[in-house]
Symmetry: C2
Subunit: 281 residues, 2 copies
Amino acid sequence: MGLDALAVVGLGAIGGSVAWQARAAGVARVVGFSPDPEEAAAAARAGAITEIADSPAAAVRGARLAILATPPPVALQLIGRLAPHLEADTILTDVASVKVPVIQQAIAAGLETRFAGAHPLAGTHGSGFAFARPDMLSGCVVYVCATGRAGDRAAGIVREFWDDTMNASSVLIDAAAHDRQLAWTSHLPQAMAYALANTLGGLGLETRAFGPGARDTMRLAASNPDLWLEIFLQNREAVLGALDGAGASLARLRALVANGNESELRAYLEQAAEFRSSLDR
Amino acid sequence: MGLDALAVVGLGAIGGSVAWQARAAGVARVVGFSPDPEEAAAAARAGAITEIADSPAAAVRGARLAILATPPPVALQLIGRLAPHLEADTILTDVASVKVPVIQQAIAAGLETRFAGAHPLAGTHGSGFAFARPDMLSGCVVYVCATGRAGDRAAGIVREFWDDTMNASSVLIDAAAHDRQLAWTSHLPQAMAYALANTLGGLGLETRAFGPGARDTMRLAASNPDLWLEIFLQNREAVLGALDGAGASLARLRALVANGNESELRAYLEQAAEFRSSLDR
């Protein structure tokens, strides 16, 4: 069973990539909405969508699956606004990095059986359709969160979309467990990049003073600040725990450098090297 | 005036790339030494060197320019060991990340007029000739440190090599100023990557839980631990200052998330995004 009609609300880097890849996978009808008419036009020109809708409600009409790929606060609003108009056989999903608020909103909107949250572990620090790619999501891990037991069928349909149409690897996970884990694996690297960028940005050095290592370590800091403001605040408690963990690790490294204990410092560096290298094996 | 005979001692990622690019730029004779015969053979097979030497002393014989591209402690030893045998018209240089100890050693070895330190702002987290590339150094910034005023001519020759033969951009800088600056721009990003890797490595999560953002932010942690042990300890005081700067920035971010002050948090994130984005403009 293939998907024949997809709606994508938000045609930025993620939404644009989802739409584009769905078209490439043969989905006949991909309707897109963007609050920016130029972005929608760019998506249509690229062949990422087959139709431009003039509102989110118009986009989801007739869709088997409707994906909200907007900033998190907009997605929360749209779940409530679209719920009364959703056709009986339309499944709604999203792509936000924090899942508990989304799942709570879907339940509050009466969409237990018609909604599942999703979070593809992919993306870019860039924003907008200009950063969309027709293969960005291929092969990535996608966390899928059901709205409790009543949402099993919807979660299955959303997983099928990611696994079959997007060629990704879906993983079913409880929303609270997802948010706790992502505070460490995603929100913390983002925070470290911000802290480093604000440390180095204050030095007043020329651009050429920063080599590829510094640039890569700070890459995430170029992301959309509004998006990350929401993520940090929505997942505040877990993010604070992760920040404390990293702060303790940095303090430990500082102590090892300060006291010049070569064997312990070497062990610290080797442990980090072993872990990071293991991710490439 | 072109360079006709180059010696490269150490054929790892940096030394191998320097040799390879020199050959590509038409240097007739590039003699290489590696303590690992297989690495030297690989460099010869790739066409990165024209001759394999069986010792550092043999490598530098007859060279107009001899480059030490070994781990920092080995480079310090070699400056002392090679000095008595250096032919009158051979200039010696290196590629280490910390320059004060190297310059001090060159002066102690009586090489004021024959040595200049260099530090190309390029490289990889990988080690060994397998990570060398014939274009790795093209376009990069290379800091060059003279051994005081007596070393101006040697520094000029080393700059000419990087600018003309390597197609890089040399910048003359005082060794102490270099080490203070690099503590922030290079050694600190490295430290942040280590701290993050040791924080995340302890979670016991599967490899697939880490997306491209986390991987990039930790990329530097895969570097050679022995190399970085030396760098942190050689540049200890400056590195501690940089670690304190980053620790304060991370603590500030934590406080902004904890108290939920949206406008100050947004300003912090926007400042970081503006700085990191400015590096790509």
